[in-house]
Symmetry: C2
Subunit: 443 residues, 2 copies
């Protein structure tokens, strides 16, 4: 099975665990059988591989997520990188071009497109495979998955099928309705549109040629920012006559808000938390290294990360976005291709961060114009290059990098560093990449 | 006026802002006229000085609070340091000995004893002065302040006066009653016992001679840990025949729990916080450098400090102590005589702290057996002595101190340092004070 996972943009609705650089699909919140926690991306990837070990998984996403994907999944997952955000039709057209031109997938092969963040069981991925088989062998150009509604939701679009068979032609699409309208649709056998569909690769390439004059992957990639934002539903699905829907009646949850996310939590807390016995329907997700004590709370979610602390009534948690938009602070935590960093102190004229480098990884060779830096190695072994000079480092070593001096660090084992930045102007933009001529530079 | 402020022990009931090393009276929570925040200790001290600029203030407290008192009040406040905790009678006896033997107060002078943490206005301190005058000139050995009750509280002890005059002889003391009993007492004109009283210094010295064989201050200090724990009420007040009570009808609040403390807050939050318009009767005290977002909360307090995060229904906030007792973690923030420190990262085999030294102050000269330390100066100017060698330091300087090497740092201006500790065993107990022979040692 060829599967394209659409990995969406910044998820402020799950602040403070998600933010501009960290989307909700990367939050490790789901307990696995071995007691570890995995993210939505990891869960979905594991489930796909469990249903179809041969599945070719491609993630369509923006550049900002590439590091997190490499950190959380194995290196050989395909990534179709969108140069900027242009909604689902351009993203799917680019992914189709990537599959054909870069990965060599034939035009006759079926491809399934699916959001990266549904909370589902393995039967869902078995259905995706059935969807792909139908797309490969049936007469329709598009085969949608229609999710059996469990309540008359006003949050989803609806697909009205021609009949109630397992596979039916699509009669009409309906946008997010009122609850009353949704009840009517349900009586007609309507299904939720979860944004899941399968097609033969050549079909979408043909639509892309017609609609945006696609020639090949590289050309499309280069002019991606000139494309109009439009969803796949508007651009393609709603105009297609040869279109079917396949019913899916298994478990499916949309993890878009804290309210729905906490429903999927196995225990009432992740991280350090104490809930007294007067707490009811309370969930705590605590990424900080300090305890959260909850006393006498009802129907609440408490979430804490280096970005901030959310304390919310569960129903009210759907409305946090405008408030989070107003919070304009330093990004406190980020995953990078080489590991991660966390800001641990911000002073006037200084910032202190804790850097974790994964084994075998290193930073770019770079310098800063306006700040000095001091590295104190606190764990692990590795090598630094400062002004062309390489040295081995381990816990306790200190490296000083005055402004203007190029430097980098490589991890031989997992490596942890306290980095103190000192300067009148400390900014992520004050960074100059430098080509390293040393033989070490190929890391 | 001679006034002894009893500064009590660790205040877990206001966790996470108070803890074993930081009592509630030092939390800066009250907004002053100039927009700054002051602590209970600072507020009470300012109020006393405003009513009586000549007042001689002595704080009776444990050693662990001396640094915080010096940081928050001017240096010339008297401190009677209790070598260990022995309840109020030994504490007051020691303070009386301190006043007489160390400060040279005559036995005929009146002394007022008062807890350090009532939330009151200046009329309260005017009443204390009246209390002292009555003790100095009247016939009674003890003159208590009796607070007019505002409701039949089961939280306080009651004083039943012989009559309802402004000053009356005490008929009897009543321990914390039920609410019904309290209602009865109130009908009899009973008053709350706020632990405030005045006496001639010689009276308490005499009682101390009789009850614990007190000879002089130093002797009492040296054998303090052998004294029995007993309150002043049990040991003295309840046996005294010549005892009066003076009514006080002004504003008086006991700041013992989050519920009562938040009543004294001028705005709904201190620190970074956003409350949406669906929040009602919510107070946030946030000492962290990250925002707290509250959505749809009712009757709640949210308090965050480096020690942890409390999210509590206001009524339930009275019951946090047993839960806090179970939290056994690293102290994350402490005030010291030279400034303060905050733990900003704990790793395996490392700890990183941010140290702030006040101008003119320095650490003891000391070494650690089991850890290396690295100081990176992030702000200010000062001097370090490492292994006997002195150097001037400023922002950007780095000082390495391998295990066993003695070191200290002095602040010429306000000085901030990131200290990285590296070692297999990091403990506050791994510290050896060393006598510095250098001329600099007199700092």
């Amino acid at each position: 099975m060829n599967i394209v996972l659409l990995s969406g943009g910044s998820g402020k609705r799950l602040w403070p665990l998600s933010n501009d650089t960290r989307s909700k699909q990367f939050i490790k919140i789901f307990k696995t059988a071995d007691g570890e926690y995995e993210s939505m991306v990891q869960r979905v990837y594991r489930q796909i591989k469990s249903v179809d070990g041969e599945a070719a998984v491609t993630i369509a996403t923006s550049k900002s997520q590439v590091s997190a994907i490499h950190n959380q999944l194995c290196e050989n997952v395909g990534i179709s990188v969108e140069p900027c955000r242009r909604d689902t039709f351009p993203a799917i057209a680019l992914a189709a071009a990537y599959l054909h031109d870069v990965r060599g997938i034939a035009e006759e092969e079926a491809v399934v497109v699916c959001p990266v963040d549904p909370y589902v069981e393995e039967d869902y991925f078995a259905s995706l495979r059935a969807l792909a088989e139908r797309a490969a062998t049936g007469g329709a150009n598009l085969v949608l998955m229609g999710i059996e509604p469990t309540y008359p939701s006003a949050k989803y679009g609806y697909i009205i099928p021609e009949n109630k068979n397992c596979i039916s032609r699509v009669s009409v699409f309906k946008e997010k309705p009122t609850e009353d309208k949704a009840r009517e649709y349900m009586e007609q056998g309507a299904l939720w549109n979860g944004g899941v569909f399968a097609f033969r690769l050549g079909y979408v390439m043909q639509r892309a040629r017609e609609l945006i004059g696609y020639a090949d992957y590289q050309t499309l990639f280069d002019r991606y920012d000139s494309l109009t934002k439009i969803s796949f539903d508007y651009a393609v699905a709603e105009h297609e006559q040869h279109i079917e829907v396949m019913r899916f009646a298994g478990m499916w949850k949309d993890m878009g808000t804290w309210n729905t996310l906490t429903e999927a939590m196995e225990s009432d807390h992740i991280g350090k938390a104490i809930l007294n016995d007067r707490c009811e329907n309370v969930h705590v997700v605590n990424e900080l290294n300090m305890p959260v004590l909850c006393m006498g709370l009802q129907n609440m979610v408490v979430a804490a990360s280096p970005e901030g602390i959310l304390v919310s009534d569960k129903n009210q948690s759907s409305y946090i976005k405008p408030y989070v938009d107003e919070i304009n602070q330093q990004i406190m935590f980020a995953e990078k291709s080489w590991g991660s960093f966390q800001v641990i102190d911000i002073g006037e004229g200084s910032m202190t961060i804790k850097v974790t480098l994964n084994p075998g990884h290193g930073m770019n060779y770079h310098s800063h114009a306006l700040r000095d830096e001091v590295w104190t190695i606190i764990a692990g072994r590795g090598r630094t290059i400062v002004d062309g000079m390489e040295r081995e480092v381990c816990a306790g070593d200190v490296i000083r990098m005055p402004a203007g001096v190029p430097h980098t660090i490589y991890a031989d084992t997992m490596l942890q560093v306290v980095e103190v930045q000192i300067g009148s102007e400390i900014s992520v933009h004050d960074k100059k990449k430098i080509t390293l001529r040393n033989a070490e530079s190929d890391k």
